[in-house]
Symmetry: none
DNA sequence: GATGAATGAGACTTCATTCAT
DNA sequence: AATGAATGAAGTCTCATTCAT
C-alpha cells in the first residue's frame, strides 16, 4: 500500500483539514475523518490524544505553511512599499488558491479553540525578533515611509481587508484577479503610508 | 395575546444570542436556552421550527440592529469623508459595546450556516436602492472624492480592518479608545480616497 | 402502561441491581440496563448523572434496606445473647433470600466504588448514637456479658463468618438451613461472650 | 532459553497483579500491563491466551503462595488450639503484609471470574487428603477439642473474621498489631472449641 | 520469538426533537 | 398554548486482540 501521504499521521491531518473546512468541526465525526483518511478510527487516537488535539494539530500545520508562504520572495532590498505589496499579494494568492486552509483558519479563530491560540503570536514580545519580516516592515515608521501607528492597526489594515475579500471570493461574490489583488494591496498601503 | 408571544419569542432569541456567543452553537443545548429564557423546551419549537431556524433568526435580529446602527447620525449634508468616518466610528462603537453580537456574527459567518446567508445582501441588487447610505457614499467616485474601485473592495477596506481590530479588542490584545478608533477610520479613508 | 414499579427511577434501579449482580458492573452496558428496565437509554441519564452515580444509588437502596432488615424484631428487653443471635439470624435470612443484593454488595465493596464508601459508617463517630442497636449490643462489655474487645473485632466476628457462609451458600457449596444458621450465630456469640 | 521465558512470564504475572490490585481488572489495559512488565503487548498473548486466562493465572499464582504460607510453622505436635492460632496468625501476617495479593483475591472472588473458580477447593473431595493440615485440625472434633460442626462453618469462623479485619486494615480503619491479631485468633478459637 | 502499529467493536454519554398531559 | 419527560440516533473514545515485520 503506497499512499500519496507518506505516513498515517499526514493522511489524517489532510483528511481532517478537508472535512473541517467543508463541514465544520462539529459536523465532521471522527469516524468520517477515518474513512476519508483510509485508516481505522482507533488509529486517529494513536496519533492524536483526542479530537481537540487533532484540530490544534491541523491549525499548526496550516499556520506554519501560511507563515512561510507570506514571506516568500520578500526582498529586503526593495522599498518598503514594494515589500508590503509583495506581502499582501503573497497572502492573497496563497489563501485564494487554498480555500480549505482559509475556511479552516476562519473557523478556528472564531471558535473556542482559536480564542486561546489567537494570532496573538504577532503581538507577543518573543516573536518580535529581527528575523521577522513583518517587524522590519512595520518599523518603517522610523524610516519615515509609513505613519506612526500602533502595531495592531497596521495588522488590521493589512490582514483585515484581505480576509474580507477572501471570504467574498470563496462565496463567489467576487473574482480575485490580478487587478483586484493589486488594487487591494495598494489601497492597504495607502492606508498606512505617510 | 400577541404581545405575550412576542415577549416569549424575544426572550428565546436573547437567551440564544447569549449562549451562542458565549459557548458556540454546538455547546448550547436547546434545553439550556430554554432554561435561560425561562420557557419550556417545547415552547422553543413552537416559535422556531428547529435549532437551525433559531440560529438564523438570531442572525436576522442581530444583523438588522447592526444595519440600523451603522447609519445612525449619517448626515448626508456632510462631506463624503466625514460621512465615511462617521460610519466606521458607528460600527466600531456599536460592536465594541456588544461583544455578544460580534462573537455571534463571527461564528455565524465562518460556519456552514453563514456560508449560505453571507453578507451577500450588500451586493445583491435588491439592496442597492437609493435609500441605502452605503451606496450613496460609495458612489462618491462619481463625485471625484473616492477612487473608482469595485464595490467589494470598498467594503473590504471599510469592514475588514474594523472586524480585525474588534477581534483583538475582544481578546484583550488592544484597547479601542477614541484615538485608535479615529486613526482606524482615517486609515480606511486614506485607503479609498482619491 | 401500568408497570409494577411505580416510577421509572425504581425500574432502572431494579434492573441495574439485577444486571450488576449477575454480570458485574463492567459487563452491564447501560444499553442493557435500559432494555431490562424497559426505558430508553437517555432516560437513565435523566435520573442519574452517569453510570457511577447509578451504581452508588443502587448501593444506597440496597444498603438502606439491609440496615432496616438487620434490626427487625430486635427486642431490647431480651438478653444480649438473644439479641445478638437475632441480629445474625436476621442478616443471614435476609441476604440468603436475596442473592442479588448480596452479590452486588460484595462487588461494590471490593471495587473502587466501595473503597470510598466502605462500611466505615459502622465506625464513624456520628453513627455511634444510642438509637443504633449495634452499639447498644456491643456496649455489652460494660455489662459484663461480652468481652472487652475493640469494636472492629466485634464487627469482624459478627459479619465476617456470615459473609463467608453466604458466599458458599450462593455457590451451592452449602445449604443454609435453620440448624446451620443457629450454629453460626451461636459460634459467633461464643467468640465474643465473656 | 526456558529460564528467559519463565522470567518473562513471571514479569507479566507480577505486573498484572500490581495493576489489578491497584486499578481493578477493567482499569488495567493489557497495554499498560505490558509497559509495566517491560514486554511488548504481543508477548503477553504468547504466554496467555487472552486477558481472562491471565487473570486466572494470576489467581493461581497468588493462591498457591497463600496456601503454602498458611501452613508454615504448623507443628502437629502442638495442641489443636496452638495450631489453630498459629494458622490464623500466619494468614493475617501474610496477607496484611501483601495488600496487593489481598486486594486481588477480594476482587477475583467477588467478580464473575471467581464465581466459577471459588475457594471450592477447600471443600472438594480431592483436596481432603491427609496431608492437608486443615483437615487434620478440623478433625479435632473427633478428639474432643473442637465442637462437632459442619466443615463450612469451621472455615467461615476461621477465614471470615480474618478477611473482614484485613479489609478494615487496608482501609486504614484499624491497625492490625500483634495484640489485635492475638485477640482475633483467640476469638475464632473460642467460636469453635468445645 | 518478540514487537507494537493498526484495528473496529462496543462502551458511555449528549442532545435535538416529539408528544402526552 | 405550554411544558418537560422520554427517547434513540449519533458522537467520542477505549482497549482487547491481531499480524506484518
Amino acid at each position: 500500500m503506497s499512499s500519496i501521504l507518506k505516513n498515517k499521521s499526514d493522511a489524517i491531518l489532510q483528511a481532517a483539514l478537508e472535512q473541517f473546512a467543508e463541514n465544520g468541526f462539529h459536523s465532521s465525526p471522527v469516524s468520517q475523518l477515518a474513512t476519508l483518511a483510509e485508516v481505522g478510527v482507533g488509529s486517529i487516537y494513536r496519533y492524536f490524544k483526542d479530537k481537540d488535539e487533532l484540530i490544534h494539530a491541523v491549525f499548526t500545520m496550516v499556520d506554519d505553511a501560511l507563515q512561510k508562504a507570506m514571506v516568500t520572495h520578500l526582498d529586503s532590498s526593495l522599498s518598503d512599499r514594494q515589500q508590503f505589496i509583495q506581502l499582501v499579494t503573497n497572502l492573497i494568492h496563497y489563501l485564494n488558491a487554498r480555500p480549505q486552509e482559509f475556511k479552516f483558519l476562519e473557523q478556528y479563530y472564531s471558535s473556542p479553540y482559536g480564542s486561546q491560540t489567537k494570532h496573538a503570536k504577532f503581538l507577543h514580545e518573543d516573536s518580535v525578533d529581527q528575523s521577522n519580516p513583518f517587524i522590519n516592515l512595520f518599523s518603517g515608521s522610523q524610516k519615515g515611509t509609513i505613519k506612526d501607528l500602533p502595531l495592531p492597526l497596521y495588522l488590521a489594515m493589512t490582514f483585515g481587508p484581505v480576509i474580507f475579500l477572501l471570504r467574498d471570493s470563496l462565496s463567489g461574490l467576487v473574482t480575485l484577479d490580478n487587478t483586484l489583488i493589486q488594487q487591494t494591496a495598494e489601497a492597504s498601503w495607502n492606508a498606512i503610508k505617510v
